[in-house]
Symmetry: C2
Subunit: 322 residues, 2 copies
């Protein structure tokens, strides 16, 4: 802990992409645009708005162009999109994204399961993407899935992550997201790896992209913060998940994460009241309950009315909660 | 973080008391005994088995004597019970408890709401309890509710906590549980207070009793661990809650907490596989789903079968999860 230092943290919203892509039902384009517009006015640093992938592969995001072109672009907010290949990159750039995000996995099996390529093929594609983006002003970010562990191959050796990060940076990417795709990481592991990458590449903006699969999402975020990370992906209401880890809860919840950081004295830049109001609208949009907790319990400083017997204590035991 | 030091942590189960007391339905006595017997063989350090309170006040625990007398007493496990007053203390001692646990709140309004006494009255009763327990071998533990914050009075000043802990220790209590009754604490606050009490009273066993109301339960536990705390209350499946904070989730989940500590390299002494098996039986016992996540997702090292296309990569984008 660094208890007395005010820290600026940057909260990056991924629900419109990472959340909506695996929803059972298509979220109407107008709802997506409305949601992104509302989110853009909360002080979030970045919004991953959509994915320029094949409509056959991810039908839920088949409206990528419309979404990207019709959303309001709030000054200061970075509007990012995931792209799977050069074609997607060209589409995203044509639609005017601020940031291109690409994904490969640190583990071989997950990369093949997720993007149907070997890691070597992914790296080759990354190089082609950098070429395709040359001349644009778009920031190039690479997400390294299964950075901490893989549901098929087990724990990911830190050496492997270091090697891949180095290659990805050499190819020309500017930012790296360290993704705990199936929520396997623990605070100690996160602290160690974050310290290591930050020591090695102090100028590179590293992002922690955490999942709450086993309840450790916020613990891992706090550990990352202590290790000097200041950028965090999160998903409104805790939407999202991984198709290869059934039964698992989703991404770290944006409002819960923002709330924790704010409570810890960090400067998040986010209007949390407004963010929570938007989160409360999610069950209507997606048609089911979502895992977010602060939207249900309220912020930590919420006060309740005292029971009427308080102030007239009668030395009579009622309930005992500890 | 203290990344390379193996830490022994002691996990203390409170579901049979803190969980069952607020369940909508009475859990049959035989189920309680069977559950405690199973839990006793998992390596948990302590089990709070019941509460010797008035059957009118907490009907769910009206079977305290029967439970306490009929459970197996596994050597090495401390079997504790909550008592609200001298009468309860006498009943608990007669039933052969290893440890007496009492509760008062650090905040005035919550103390009156919860136990219908002023804090001064509570302290006077604590003194009477110490007298009543004199001559017994029972360990005396005091739980300080709303240590971090109160749903009525707001944040609890650390000075107030220090003052009350001092008074409670002077009265003759041997252990102190710092309780985040409605899940208001954040990791930074937990770290600060834990460091402070441990510096002032290094010989006193302090326990962290955390709730996951706003998703920060495990983060707070990790922060407490870093600040030198090694004893943690938790509730199987995440049962429990606070009657004064509606909509809130319950206590920190025992198997999720144990899992995190084990993943962090701590020695928990707990057979986690066995604990998870027992947790999976909870929905049947209480008649509803419970919030525990590891029981649903499996431990972090759980491996899944690879999709059949892995190893035959076809350079064809399918799903992209990060």
């Amino acid at each position: 802990m660094q208890p007395d230092k005010v820290r600026r943290v940057y909260i990056q919203e991924v629900a419109p992409r990472d959340g909506f892509q695996i929803e059972p039902n298509f979220v109407p384009t107008e709802e997506k645009i409305k949601l992104i517009n509302r989110l853009g006015r909360t002080g979030l640093a970045k919004i991953e708005a959509t994915s320029f992938t094949s409509p056959k592969a991810i039908p839920n995001l088949r409206d990528a162009e419309t979404v990207m072109r019709q959303i309001e672009r709030v000054p200061g907010v970075v509007y990012a999109a995931l792209v799977p290949n050069v074609r997607g990159c060209e589409r995203a750039l044509a639609a005017g994204v601020d940031e291109i995000n690409v994904v490969m996995s640190a583990s071989e099996s997950h990369n093949q399961a997720n993007v149907r390529m070997t890691r070597e093929q992914s790296l080759a594609q990354f190089a082609a993407l950098v070429k395709a983006a040359r001349g644009s002003k778009a920031f190039l970010n690479a997400s390294l899935a299964t950075t901490f562990g893989c549901p098929f191959d087990g724990w990911t050796p830190a050496e492997e992550v270091m090697r891949l990060v180095e290659q990805i940076l050499e190819i020309g990417f500017q930012g790296i997201s360290l993704c705990d795709t199936t929520g396997m990481a623990n605070p100690r592991q996160v602290a160690r790896l974050c310290e290591r990458v930050r020591t090695r590449w102090p100028e590179v903006p590293f992002i922690l992209h955490l999942h709450n699969t086993r309840g450790m999402g916020l613990s891992n975020a706090a550990a990352g913060l202590d290790a000097g990370i200041d950028r965090f992906d999160a998903s409104l209401g805790g939407l999202g998940g991984c198709p290869f880890a059934p039964g698992a809860t989703g991404n770290v919840c944006t409002e819960d994460l923002t709330h924790m950081f704010a409570q810890m004295g960090c400067q998040t830049g986010v209007d949390l009241d407004r963010l929570i109001e938007i989160a409360k609208d999610l069950p209507r949009i997606v048609g089911h309950e979502v895992p977010g907790q602060v939207m249900k319990a309220g912020q930590a400083d919420r006060k309740y009315a005292k029971p009427d017997w308080v102030g007239t204590a009668k030395n009579q035991i009622a309930i005992t909660s500890s």
